[in-house]
Symmetry: C2
Subunit: 223 residues, 2 copies
């Protein structure tokens, strides 16, 4: 029991999983897949890579056990192997955010200035939803809303928000949410709504964190 070689092999196997997350494009894939299953074509557009390269990265994730597949006709859908994968991804992301100094700058470069962006926590939002005095808007792509969303949330993808502001009930605060704390959609939504004189905040994180916290969700059974 306990020889060097066997220990090295065991820890090499643990490291293989970390290595699978150790590439920016694969991290983006995990972040998108945390919203629900998607097929290769969509994923390649999401991460801005060729289909071949996306397929390669997905295979790396699959052989590390992080994602699984199902076929539906000519399409192959990828999904995360389990909720644990979300746990590991968010834990890694949080470590990076708290200890890697560059992250703040890079996040600011991607998300823009957040100092005037009002946020709302999960617990408070859950209360406000129960009280019924808030409109929750899911600004992710429609397919992600369909795969699962915060209870009662209305799907208005960010591209369609400008055209739909007038249909939102007046005099009620709007809360926008999207994929997570480093997703730009909800930020853009809040900025747009504020320009139109609507009271609006963003959920501080996103759908995967809400789901992980066991807060109420629902799924559009539109298949």
């Amino acid at each position: 029991m306990g020889d060097r070689h066997a220990k090295d092999q065991l820890f090499d196997a643990f490291a293989e999983v970390a290595k699978a997350l150790g590439n920016g494009r694969r991290a983006e894939l995990i972040d998108v897949l945390a919203q629900g299953e998607r097929h290769v074509d969509e994923l390649s557009a999401e991460i801005g890579q060729s289909v071949a390269n996306t397929s390669f990265h997905l295979r790396v994730l699959a052989s590390a056990g992080l994602v699984t597949t199902r076929r539906d006709g000519t399409r192959i859908y990828y999904r995360l192997a389990s909720a644990r994968v979300v746990d590991a991804w968010t834990a890694l992301r949080d470590v990076a955010a708290s200890h890697h100094e560059q992250i703040d700058e890079l996040a600011a470069a991607y998300l823009g200035d957040r100092t005037h962006l009002e946020q709302i926590g999960r617990a408070e939002l859950a209360e406000r939803i129960a009280a019924g005095d808030v409109v929750v808007v899911d600004v992710r792509p429609a397919v992600e809303h369909a795969a699962g969303h915060i209870v009662g949330a209305r799907s208005i993808p960010i591209d369609e928000l400008a055209a739909n502001v007038k249909d939102l009930p007046p005099d009620v605060e709007v809360v926008a949410y999207c994929r997570g704390p480093y997703c730009v959609f909800a930020d853009d939504a809040v900025r747009l709504l504020r320009r139109r004189r609507r009271a609006a905040r963003r959920l501080e994180d996103g759908f995967p964190e809400w789901q992980r916290a066991q807060l109420p969700i629902e799924t559009s059974a539109v298949s």
Copy 2:
């Protein structure tokens, strides 16, 4: 807000942290450092690598923000940057264990057959400690016990256990613990004690998990 290049850079930065954990030797370093700070020389012996290579790996971990250093005379001590690093490491390890089929075999090759090895959970052990009807033995190296241990635990490094069995109070169950679920010391301790007809179990995980669960610990202030 939200251009491709900025998003790629942000996720590359997240991935850099995963990449730092994406090497078996660095994973072993994190696993050891989760027990408390150590200097380079000790760490190089722990992971079975040259001092130069260990120093190189530690620098990789440091530039990912996972570890920090302090100098004491000619020695440089490394420690984890925060408890979040333990969270990320355990989350990754658990994902690997649940989805990477090889892990079971590799763990069995390193740890040996565990089917006859009785374990005890954290909650039960905490109760038994409070009730006072158990002897808790910390079989990690003495320096790790000194850096922090389960409340009331006695330090008997695994190499010294055979010589000290006779000093353990008779007719009381012994619980051995070490670095975590993939640490071999407590397994070896339980096997040794059972051969000597002592009632013995191992804690199902180890000190870092106990600490993380906010269960009572103490530190030998022997500096």
